[in-house]
């Protein structure tokens, strides 16, 4: 969410000190409704999956490492419980977080995390077939920010 930015500096008032993505920054972020509306208007955003994957290669390794640690901890606690050994309160608290994290990982499995600042790529908008007007080409370049 919030990963697609559109330059609007030519139609919107800009202020120099505005934070990115806010009203006066000259760049605004598309919501899913925005992407859908653009698609309905004929501007279908085509972002190849390979381009996104290029930006964050270490993502999968990181997720696997984290999940290993988390599941190892959970396994230890479960085994302790099964054998009737006592569990500390902190461990019980950890288990709650582990349960949440596993669900979070499943939900956010396709969301990329940018490790080294913001990764940008530009992509051209697909133009509607019968529109040849040059004034419609003003926003053909989008900056797409990846998670």
């Amino acid at each position: 969410m919030g990963s697609i930015e559109v330059p609007v500096h030519d139609i919107e008032l800009t202020k120099p000190g505005a934070t990115r993505g806010t009203q006066f920054s000259g760049r605004q972020r598309l919501t899913s409704k925005g992407v859908l509306q653009l698609a309905k208007d004929g501007y279908f955003l085509k972002i190849p999956r390979s381009k996104i994957d290029d930006k964050c290669k270490a993502d999968v390794i990181q997720k696997v490492l984290v999940l290993t640690q988390v599941i190892w901890m959970a396994m230890q606690c479960i085994v302790r419980k099964v054998y009737g050994l006592p569990l500390t309160l902190l461990e019980v608290h950890c288990m709650v977080h582990v349960a949440f994290t596993v669900v979070l990982f499943i939900l956010w499995i396709d969301v990329r995390q940018s490790s080294a600042g913001l990764a940008c790529l530009t992509c051209a908008l697909q133009k509607p077939k019968d529109v040849q007007d040059p004034e419609l080409l003003d926003i053909t370049i989008l900056t797409i920010l990846l998670h």
Partner: protein, 270 residues
Amino acid sequence: MAAPTANTSAACQALNTLQAQILQHRDNLTALRTIQAPGFVNSPEFRGTTDILYSCVVTLVACIYTALHLNVPAKSSLGYTLAYKGKWVFIGLIAPELVLYLAILQFAEACSLVKELNKLLKTDASFERKKPKPGDVEVGIEREDPERAQGNRASSDGYGGAQDSTPGLNDSIQSVNSDSIMAATDGATTSAVTRAIAVDGSATQNENIRKSELAAGMDDDLTNNGNTISTTRFYTQHWRAAQLTRSGGLPVGSQIRFLCRYGQHRGSSS
């Protein structure tokens, strides 16, 4: 301490003697250097407080810090990014269900978007642009004078405030109108402003994005319907988009801006 347990396996025995040796020469460094250990030594059978703390803290960090997939932060400076993430780590520590709720919201949103986009692709509706029929949309153009533009700006600012506090689909129509007025006034300060009158009689104002066209003196031609093929098509296209969404005829830029702003009401935090 380290009393021998009931476990009598050979490895355990060796370990116990080793432990006893080490404990015996606890303060004797030269003796400690000469003690030979077997190739593989098991971890102690019991764990200390630090072990529990260590494993728990590592797991918590892994759970909260790395599992968070935040939006791209507004500023790219390291301090801001860390503070932004720290805030969400704190929230995740105190109320993990809140983060989970946001994740579910985003997942549902993404799923519905993918579904809708696939539906669009299947029907190929996005590329079925018919040429505008004459009389589909009447385009009347007039020039906006700066004084009126200023007045409009004041009123539209009022609209903007109201829209920010009340999200919702009904309000979206209001906000679109105010947006278009804002777009028009913005344009008036820089260059010319065009106004389109849509079929339903409600006046929507549009800023012509391409300034070079205006510089070339084409805005005089815009008043003539015979010479406004491209402009008519422009409006017709957006009129059609407006029919799809019931959001009013707007140039693409204003629609983008509206949609950006509409989305800021929710889900912008994570």
